[in-house]
Amino acid sequence: YLYNNRYAGDQVLRITPRNEEEVQVLRRLFQNMSVDLWQPNSASLIHEGRAVDVHTGQNGTAGLKARLRQEHIQHSVLISNLQEEIEKQTGYRSSRKRR
């Protein structure tokens, strides 16, 4: 496995804060959680109506989703298994190598 399979089960969620209150909730949330923000690249840059793409680890995804549901913040799953996407991204190469 690429990267020793470290991204197995990791996901990328898309969250769209609809108002300033949700923006503040997200900023507070991400100050205390170790997540990998893809877009924007800092919690301080989260704005109302702007999509937030966040990479969460296998262990943190359920908790983050639960918290988002609790706060009634809209979210969707962009990438449901990051390891699979990584394998696909350069899968062509490894198959070539195997060949």
Binding site: L2, Y3, Y7, V12, R14, D36, L37, W38, Q39, P40, N41, S42, S44, L45, H47, R50, A51, D53, H55, L78, I79, L82, E85, I86, K88, Q89, T90, Y92, R93
Partner: protein, 308 residues
């Protein structure tokens, strides 16, 4: 034997460096390869100078790719640009005109340490790989480390943050080397282009403030032409405008520094996509993404040969 290089897959740092040496060896009249310094971990910072050698004064375009390590489509585009420029020189008169009348400085991988690290250890690494004596976290955001409104809004002073601005401006040897080169050649360099991902945007100054640049009309026109050219390839729509309003406010960015240094056209591309794959853009999309971006960069370069 004919040098076979697959431009439609992502390549490691070592492969990209070998490719540069090979292109330099096989195109002595069109390409010149040199190093502008060394990275934090001691890797050479190679630049390819593309263009017909002449004694006369020529305007120049600077293109850097891979400022942020995980944005792999950037280095793929820089390699694609060089390959296309060389391959189309003979049969494409407008490309020939660009290469004859302009010099292109192309830096396929700006953040060589980070790119290598993103291949080997952490696919989603963003920053450089410099060490901080007091913190265990490594790396500086190379696009928050330029000496322009350094470390203010949109940047972080905490070494563990992804937008860490660094201990001082140009603290990163990679940033210092490029800044030094551009300062030295600023009379000739008329356009600065930095390739990032993802969001499908074309951004120009200012990033650090909500204000209109003095040559707004010319830059806005150049951006409009660029995104129209890009759209003409596959119908992909890019948003464009000042970075502060189109994306967000951020200080210490390379396009603001280039503009402040006197380079009249400074752009940052955010290439595909808008989040479906994000940083994991599949290799099958390298060709269309690079083809459309090539049209946009050519449009910007062509604009330099006209008066505005």
């Amino acid at each position: 034997s004919e040098f076979q290089y697959d431009y439609e897959v992502y390549h490691s740092m070592e492969e990209i460096q070998s490719w540069m040496f090979e292109m330099n060896r096989t195109h002595p009249h069109m390409l010149d390869m040199f190093s502008i310094g060394r990275s934090y971990e001691g890797r050479p910072l190679y630049v390819l100078q593309l263009g017909k050698r002449t004694r006369t004064y020529k305007k120049a375009v600077w293109i850097d790719c891979g400022v942020h390590a995980r944005e792999w489509i950037g280095p793929a585009f820089c390699q694609w640009f060089v390959k296309e420029a060389l391959n189309s020189y003979r049969h494409d008169s407008s490309m020939r005109r660009l290469i004859n009348q302009l010099t292109f400085y192309v830096m396929p991988v700006f953040n060589v340490d980070g790119y290598h690290y993103s291949w080997k250890v952490d696919r989603f690494w963003r920053k450089t790989r410099s060490k901080n004596a007091k913190y265990h976290c490594r790396g500086v955001d190379a696009n928050r480390n330029w000496k322009v409104k350094w470390c203010e809004e949109g940047a972080s002073s905490h070494p563990c943050d992804d937008t860490y601005c660094g201990p001082y401006p140009e603290s990163e040897p990679e940033v210092k080397a490029v800044a030094k080169f551009l300062r030295k050649h600023k009379r000739r360099v008329k356009a600065y282009i930095s390739i990032h991902a993802y969001a499908q945007m074309l951004l120009y100054p200012y990033s650090y403030k909500y204000a209109t640049i003095p040559n707004f009309n010319c830059v806005e026109t150049a951006a409009q032409n660029a995104v129209s050219a890009l759209y003409s390839a596959y119908g992909v729509r890019y948003r464009y405008g000042p970075a502060s309003t189109t994306l967000y406010v951020s200080s210490g960015s390379s396009i603001d520094w280039a503009y402040k240094t006197g380079i009249p056209y400074a752009f940052a591309f955010e290439l595909r996509d808008t989040g479906y794959f994000g940083f994991l853009l599949p290799e099958t999309l390298i060709n269309p993404t690079c083809t459309e971006t090539m049209r946009a960069v050519r449009a910007i370069a062509s604009g330099l040969l006209k008066k505005c």
